[in-house]
């Protein structure tokens, strides 16, 4: 089995993995970072969205071996070390941007990526359009959209990853 090394949430990790191991399996089963969820497993629902080298991707449709040398950020890597939530997480909490919470990690990662790409002032139409790749089956979009608009504003001044 090949050895794959990458940085996950700022920490260097290395492991023997089967080539067919998906990135999401590697994160959840090897690293025990179970915040990243598997919803549909068919690249549609967005529950597994993480940041790969600064870009939101679906970790159910990426092989772990493809991430050799990559920088991965998961939902666990957003909050500060002392537990203080990332402004986008705080905005989801404030606006009650979730019901069951299953889609939330992917929603938050997609939302942060949206801010990286589109800036801090996001209107409702833009947010809804950009959420194309994230499904919430509680139909809780209304508060998710509100949370993202508020979180985007609160992220003002935060650094964006170099592309």
């Amino acid at each position: 089995m090949p050895v794959v090394s990458m940085t996950v949430n700022g920490k260097a990790v290395s492991a023997d993995v089967e080539t067919r191991t998906l990135l999401v399996q590697y994160l959840r089963e090897h690293l025990r970072l179970t915040g990243t969820h598997v919803g549909c497993d068919t690249s549609q629902c967005g529950c597994c969205v993480i940041h790969l080298d600064g870009k939101a991707v679906k970790s159910c449709t990426t092989l772990a071996v493809q991430c050799q040398g990559a920088n991965v950020v998961t939902i666990e890597g957003l909050a500060e070390a002392d537990g203080k939530l990332h402004p986008m997480q705080e905005a989801f909490r404030e606006n009650h941007g979730l019901q069951c919470g299953y889609c939330t990690p992917g929603m938050v990662m997609a939302a942060v990526d949206m801010v990286y790409r589109k800036g801090n002032e996001l209107d409702e139409q833009t947010i809804r359009h950009e959420l194309d790749g994230n499904l919430c089956r509680c139909t809780g979009y209304h508060n998710i959209v509100k949370a993202i608009a508020a979180g985007a504003k609160a992220m003002k001044g935060m650094p964006t990853p170099a592309s």
Binding site: K58, T62, L63, V65, Q66, A110, E130, D132, G133
Partner: protein, 264 residues
């Protein structure tokens, strides 16, 4: 998915050598068509040849009267290219309609073209602009490249490295998305470059992307939606499935072609 060997070549040459040595291997670019098929165990490649570390096959540049796009250029990069938006906005508009933002961060133009999914968008852009597909071996005209459903003129040890699109004065792509999948139920790419007029259709043909000669002929007089009014497209050879009947698709081709002409 089934187990496989994994290779991550650094050059096109290494990739092609690996392909030649592993006839049952599959090439991995963005992975958003191949990995889902492997997860369903519908494909069982002996090896994966991952192109993501290959240098020099990504980027958008203008060369004379063409735009050349590297095979590994991702959908979001093509969509965001200021160069492309400037010289050929119709082509820049194509990848923005593929999948969702996360998918566009991975998917590549070369992968889409090599896969030749009958509902994919890039094949329509290639055929609709008269692109040239450049491989490690040769240059292939789009008219000769797209052979049939998921079938191309590529040989087993041949790899797309770039795609060259002539800069058309007028061009546009209009896509009627399937509301759930986002794939093209019908997508029409139109272009006019000097006296060359092209109308290419994706999503509708049971054999993949195709041109509509009767529209092209009628547009020679005037490149406008009015010129194709009343010209019917035969439902023969069009897809007939739970999403839409062949007749519906035939009608939609005319509608989307007119919209594209109005936008061009």
């Amino acid at each position: 998915m089934y187990a496989f060997d994994y290779h991550a070549p650094k050059t096109v040459r290494q990739a092609v050598n690996l392909l030649a040595k592993n006839p049952e291997a599959k090439v991995l670019a963005g992975g958003h068509s191949l990995l889902p098929v492997m997860k369903l165990r519908l494909a069982q490649p002996s090896a994966i040849i991952d192109l993501n570390q290959v240098e020099g096959i990504s980027g958008v540049e203008v060369k004379g009267r063409s735009v050349v796009i590297g095979a590994l250029t991702r959908h979001y990069q093509v969509a965001a290219s200021d160069t492309l938006k400037d010289v050929l906005p119709a082509l820049a508009s194509v990848p923005g309609s593929i999948g969702d933002p996360h998918v566009r961060h991975r998917g590549t133009i070369g992968g889409s073209i090599a896969n030749n999914d009958p509902n994919a968008d890039y094949p329509a852009a290639c055929l609709g602009l008269g692109a040239t597909i450049i491989t490690n071996k040769r240059r292939i005209l789009a008219d000769d490249f797209f052979v049939g459903m998921y079938e191309t003129a590529l040989e087993p040890d041949e790899l797309i490295t770039k795609v060259s699109f002539p800069i058309a004065k007028k061009a546009a792509y209009q896509k009627f998305k399937h509301p759930a999948s986002g794939f093209a139920l019908v997508g029409v790419f139109v272009s006019k470059r000097g006296s060359e007029i092209r109308v290419a259709v994706t999503g509708a043909g049971s054999n993949g992307v195709f041109r509509v000669p009767q529209f092209e002929e009628a547009l020679k007089k005037r490149f406008s939606p009015k010129s194709i009014e009343g010209i019917e497209v035969s439902p023969e050879g069009l897809n007939n499935d739970i999403h839409a009947s062949a007749e519906y698709r035939a009608h939609l081709i005319g509608v989307m072609a007119k919209r594209a002409l109005a936008a061009a």
